[in-house]
Amino acid sequence: MCPLVSFGTFRQGPLLQTRAPSSSSPCLLDVQGLRTWFHTRAGVVKAVDGVCLQLKQGEILGLVGESGCGKTITGFSLMNLVDKPGRIRAERLFFDGRDLQALSAKEYRALRGNEMAMIFQDPMMTLNPTLRVDTQMIETVQAHESVSRRAARARSIDMLVKVGIPAPEERMCVYPHHLSGGMRQRIAIAIALLNSPKLIIADEPTTALDVTIQGQILYEVQKLCREMGTALIWITHDLAIVSGLADRLAVMYAGRIVETAPTADIIRGARHAYTHGLMASIPTFDTRGKNLFQIPGSTPSPLNMPEGCPFRTRCYRATPQCVHEPVFEETAPAHGVSCWHPGIAA
């Protein structure tokens, strides 16, 4: 039985066709060797240490990893929202053909919220509690286009309808704390979509919500992205959620991408030992009544990474060769792994 379907059956809502766009379309996002290091008094925290990502127009990428692996910082790095003492460096950081590292602060700001938007994790804190919803939506439109307040307001109302908020004219005139978590997240999504961005980075947007709302939001986001042709990076720790949503998956560990491939390829045949461990940890019908699998050991501290491959201390395939940093290679078309011993699980 196709594993894709088994994941689909115990998620809420119908599953949309995950139809990846043709491989001949140009790259929207091209990231090579992204490193974000924090130079603190305690030492250098290498939060992101060599991330390679490619995204095509309209593609949905799931960025998966456990807490603390650096996925949120990756999202912030793409948006240039990393606070001091963090510093972003990359071999290649291209968005829509433009070199992001060559942009001035002003140019980057023009990009944010306009062509590249972000949705945060906690809907409670994302919206400013002392400003009304319409103020926050209208200012997002007016920051990037000189339109009248009325036009901006009309656009906001349209977007609220699109994300499925009933009675949007009334909802707009309230303060954020009057609304539920699910509503607030929908508004955050609406704000992200207001200026028809080419890329949305969603940082665990459903983690803080109820399971029932999670499914709805997932479905809506996927539908909107397909409709508007927006590329999406969905950052999450929940492999199960994102596998029904994304065209491609990228698995992250200790600040590095360890494996990236189309979703179906990962589910059918993951090649990195960490990905095996992740898949095996997910409870399914087959694991009923048995002990859940756990990856032995714990994540290394970012101040104190092991030399070479960061997973080697917990890997069942580790050999003395792993002390050297593995190269990110394509073992199959569009399937890249960062490992000396890639292969299907034993």
Binding site: M79, G113, T130, E139, T140, A143
Partner: protein, 325 residues
């Protein structure tokens, strides 16, 4: 929201009543009320008259009610020993001068303190920010009157730029007299206002900095930046609206303190406000004026607290719904 206002109003009235009871106790129970409220030169016959008029033979609660009646209904606190005028009228005459001083000082403190505090909160390790913070320690630790003295020494005695004391020419503004309408009036205002504003500015800087440090790392600031809003808007609207809440609260409460502490500044600068009136009355044992001042201050401070609470509810929409629920 209305119910919470009514509740606070009742609490305020309660506090005022308690204070009036304390003042009453101090006057009528400790020491001889006649000698307290009669002029020191009164003869025995006059004292006897006063004794009778005060109704000292009546039961205590009756006396207290009379006191309350006279104080709050008729605003009659007796006449000043010095001038013979009704004490409350004296106070109302001198109050605008103090209000002028207090309002100008608070405004200056907020206008300078908030931007400096935000600056210190944005880049706390900056040399500029650290100097601001050290300056703020100086600002609120130096005694008020010393600052006033130093200012007089530099600007009045050595440089002869500003007058060393007194209030400038006044003009009527409705029912009260203000001195802010002339340049001369401002010249006289500058030094006393600077004296008071120093300490309050230091406090506001610290409050603004603390609030900024607290609000800056929060998600909604990052989200505002993620939407591509200009830094001016992020700081000037998103941040400011959130830090204004503690600042307004503190500024409001400090206004009451300034009003009372004007005693010192008015003495240093010979400013004809109610603070100076209080000191003079204490020194000359003009007790009716002291009592009138006390009761007025109690009412004023209580009302101010109430007002600050109401403003807080208006500013912070989160409190509104909790209060109204």
């Amino acid at each position: 929201m209305l119910s919470s206002i009514v509740r606070r109003l009742l609490q305020t009235i309660g506090v005022v009543l308690v204070m009036s009871a304390l003042v009453f106790a101090a006057l009528y129970l400790i020491g001889d009320p006649v000698s307290m409220l009669a002029s020191p030169e009164a003869t025995e016959a006059e004292r006897e008259l006063i004794r009778q008029s005060l109704g000292l033979d009546l039961p205590l609660w009756h006396q207290y009610l009379i006191f309350l009646n006279k104080a709050f209904v008729h605003l009659d606190f007796g006449n000043s020993f010095l001038t013979g005028e009704p004490a409350m009228r004296l106070i109302f005459e001198r109050m605008p001068a103090t209000l002028e001083l207090a309002t100008a000082a608070m405004l200056l403190a907020v206008l300078i303190g908030v931007p400096l505090g935000i600056y210190a909160g944005l880049k706390p390790e900056n040399f500029g920010a650290r100097s601001v913070m050290t300056g703020s320690v100086l600002g609120f630790s130096l005694p008020n009157f010393w600052v006033g003295l130093m200012l007089i020494m530099v600007f009045a005695v050595f440089l002869h730029w500003l007058p060393a004391g007194g209030r400038g020419p006044v003009e009527a503004f409705g029912p009260i007299q203000l001195s802010v309408f002339s340049w001369e009036g401002w010249r006289s205002l500058m030094l006393p206002v600077a004296t008071i504003a120093t300490a309050k500015c230091a406090l506001i800087i610290r409050v603004a900095r603390a609030a900024t440090r607290e609000c800056l790392p929060l998600d909604y600031i990052k989200f505002a930046r993620a939407r591509g809003l200009s830094e001016t808007r992020v700081l000037g609207v998103h941040l400011l609206k959130n830090i204004l809440i503690p600042i307004v609260t503190i500024a409001g409460l400090e206004y009451g303190q300034v009003f009372a502490f004007a005693v010192v500044t008015e003495t240093v600068f010979s400013w004809p406000g109610i603070g100076k009136l209080l000191i003079d009355s204490i020194i000359t044992l003009d007790r009716p004026v002291v009592v009138a001042y006390l009761m007025l201050t109690v009412v004023f401070l209580s009302l101010l607290n109430l007002l600050v609470d109401i403003i807080y509810t208006i500013l912070d929409p989160r409190v509104q719904s909790k209060a109204g629920a």
